[in-house]
């Protein structure tokens, strides 16, 4: 087990270093150097320019600059934003709970609908239910989610007036920040109605962000389930006279879940990419919107830090899924 863990982790290190190399290169490949960027259109005189470059360590050889960048990362230093002059890492983690809350709700929706839908489609293979579920899931998979968000706003916010259009909570309420998660904070606050308001703000963005993972989970569950349902032990369980639902939910689901869990883990990347679009449409103050705003404002240190942190998160989650996979499935652990 220990050697398995070590092996998995050692594969991730070059990937991590590669990502740091990429983000390091990013800021140097953009036309104009950081000092010119900070100065903006006002320009800067050559002497001051050289001074500032030296101050930021940008006059040193690239290899040394990279070393500084790398050691900085391990000390939690991802540079400072050009626009707000705040440390990038602090900005990121101030906004991150909002994204985490949204992504968490989205994945909960995706699993709680996608899993049963996939099981249903597999059990009713070739019937109308199967075709409906698969048709809907392919549509969901093909959905441009930014348009889907606009459509839902058009229907539920503009047409029916059920949900608000943007933000995390109505401006009427003042909620003290305890955890950073609006659902929890508004629940803890004394203001009546704050929690309801937070839920109403959260519901549409969560549905939009959940759409693609839901479709993927439903498709994966169906095919994993079909595979398992063909096995002999399922036939035996049925022959013993166990009810179909019991066989499906107890005997089959357990084994079918393994590939599904992997797919759920892989959705973290999809959620992060989706968050950029969803947060933009619903003005959700999370890291996705912040990344995009940073690109518009040419705040490259923030872009660089954001990309690095998000990809590290994706790497860590994938590693966790990988290890988990080995834990639940001994064949994988011992084969490698």
């Amino acid at each position: 087990m220990f050697s398995f863990l070590l092996k998995r982790i050692s594969v991730v290190i070059p990937t991590f270093l590669g990502v740091t190399l990429l983000t390091f290169a990013l800021i140097r490949m953009i036309p104009g150097d950081p000092v010119e960027l900070m100065a903006g259109e006002r320009g800067v005189d050559p002497v001051r320019h050289a001074e500032l470059l030296a101050q930021m360590g940008l006059d040193k050889p690239l290899l040394i600059q990279y070393w500084h960048y790398l050691t900085g990362i391990f000390q939690g230093d991802l540079g400072t934003s050009i626009v707000t002059r705040e440390p990038v890492i602090r900005e990121f983690f101030t906004l991150f709970p909002a994204t985490l809350e949204l992504s968490f709700c989205a994945i909960v929706i995706a699993i709680s609908i996608g899993l049963p839908a996939g099981i249903l489609a597999a059990v009713r293979r070739g019937k109308v239910t199967d075709y409906t579920v698969m048709g809907l899931s392919l549509t969901g998979y093909s959905m441009p989610i930014f348009w889907w968000g606009l459509l839902l706003i058009l229907l539920f916010s503009v047409g029916l007036g059920w949900t608000p259009v943007s933000g995390r909570i109505s401006a009427m309420y003042w909620v003290d920040e305890v955890t950073g998660f609006m659902l929890i904070d508004s629940y803890l606050s004394d203001e009546a109605g704050a929690f309801i308001s937070a839920v109403r703000h959260l519901i549409l963005p969560s549905i939009v962000l959940a759409t693609i993972p839901l479709a993927v989970i439903a498709r994966m569950t169906r095919s994993a389930m079909l595979e398992v349902l063909r096995e002999d032990y399922i036939q035996v369980a049925r022959a013993k006279g166990l009810a179909m639902w019991l066989v499906v939910c107890v005997h089959a689901l357990r084994n079918a879940l393994i590939p599904v869990i992997t797919v759920i883990g892989l959705q973290v990347g999809v959620l992060m990419a989706g968050a950029i679009l969803t947060e933009t449409i619903f003005s959700w103050p999370g890291v996705g919107k912040w990344m995009l705003d940073s690109i518009y404002r040419r705040d490259y240190p923030s872009v660089q830090g954001g990309i690095l942190l998000i990809s590290c998160m994706v790497i860590v989650v994938n590693l966790t899924v990988d290890i988990f996979y080995g834990v639940v499935n001994p064949r994988i652990r011992h084969n490698r």
Partner: protein
């Protein structure tokens, strides 16, 4: 039955040719046929856009700003799907937009297919250090969410249709590299490749003429699915203002400031997205059909 026997006796029955066989499998999949039909429709609309509409996608009819679709009160058949905020005909922009989306799809797929296959061939054939280096590089690209990586690349290259296509093509490279590498490794140890090597075929001949044709099936499937992803990602980049730039009638960028009109002009919001959805869905349906028809494991 009797007819078939007769045919067989007369020697007229022959195993179906590869294309015939493919078409039989493909056409038995109704979804794939619908997808194929939709693609033909979008493609011909894009090709013959000049003949299908009297308007130009850029012409602004200042007297007809935000005209609703023809069937709604206040609409006119001159603009069947209504006009946008500066009075451009939406129907015209949609069919011209098809050109852009299909062009992006084509460009992304051919770029990532050509380069990805080449890298995959090298990686699978060379093995050792080269292989490890290439695969680690691909792991890095895979570790980043595709839209995020595309954003990073567009940040470097600057916004625009071509740059967006290049960025998206890079994010899809690993898929092609991995598929090609896996099939090259599987094929290289087979007898026909060894036979070819023993009879003196050079490296180039081995890679491109002996091995490559036998790796094509999964690549074709991936390319078809890649088309839909490319269109989707390009539209997303257009939507956030980093892909195609206004006033070009790209579907995603047509939605870029649709949020402003959501209260008063539903048609500005609805139609471009519907086109994206239908086109992407069509390519996905066709991709699924291609996979079923080309993957020998599914035929058993």
């Amino acid at each position: 039955m009797a007819e078939q026997l007769e045919l067989a006796v007369n020697g007229d029955i022959a195993p179906p040719g590869p294309f015939r066989e493919f078409w039989n499998y493909f056409s038995s999949n109704r979804g794939a046929l619908i997808g194929f039909g939709l693609i033909v429709l979008v493609l011909s609309a894009a090709l013959f856009a000049n003949f299908l509409t009297p308007h130009s996608p850029y012409e602004q009819y200042r007297d007809y700003i935000l005209t609703p679709p023809a069937w709604q009160h206040g609409g006119t058949w001159r603009f069947p799907l209504g006009t946008d905020e500066v009075g451009r005909d939406i129907f015209t922009r949609l069919i011209y937009g098809g050109r852009l989306s299909l062009f992006i799809g084509m460009m992304v797929v051919s770029l990532s297919l050509a380069i990805g296959t080449l890298i995959g061939l090298v990686s699978g054939y060379a093995k050792g250090m080269t292989d490890t280096l290439i695969m680690r590089a691909m792991d890095i690209i895979m570790a980043l969410p595709s839209l995020l990586l595309a954003l990073a690349i567009v940040t470097i290259l600057g916004p625009g249709l071509i740059n967006a296509s290049i960025a998206i093509a890079i994010t899809y490279l690993p898929h092609y590299v991995r598929i090609t590498r896996a099939s090259v490794i599987a094929e290289t140890s087979k007898d026909y490749v060894i036979a070819s090597r023993v009879s003196g075929a050079g490296v180039m001949r081995l890679i491109f003429i002996t091995i490559l044709p036998n790796c094509m099936a999964p690549l074709i499937v991936q390319a078809s699915l890649g088309f839909s992803n490319a269109i989707l990602d390009a539209a997303a980049l257009g939507f956030i203002g980093l892909g195609a730039q206004p006033p070009s009638p790209e579907w995603g960028s047509m939605l870029a400031n649709a949020l402003e009109f959501i209260q008063r002009a539903w048609w500005v919001v609805t139609f471009p997205g519907l086109m994206i959805l239908l086109t992407v869905l069509a390519f996905n349906l066709m991709g699924d059909g291609l996979r079923d028809a080309l993957d020998p494991k599914m035929k058993l």
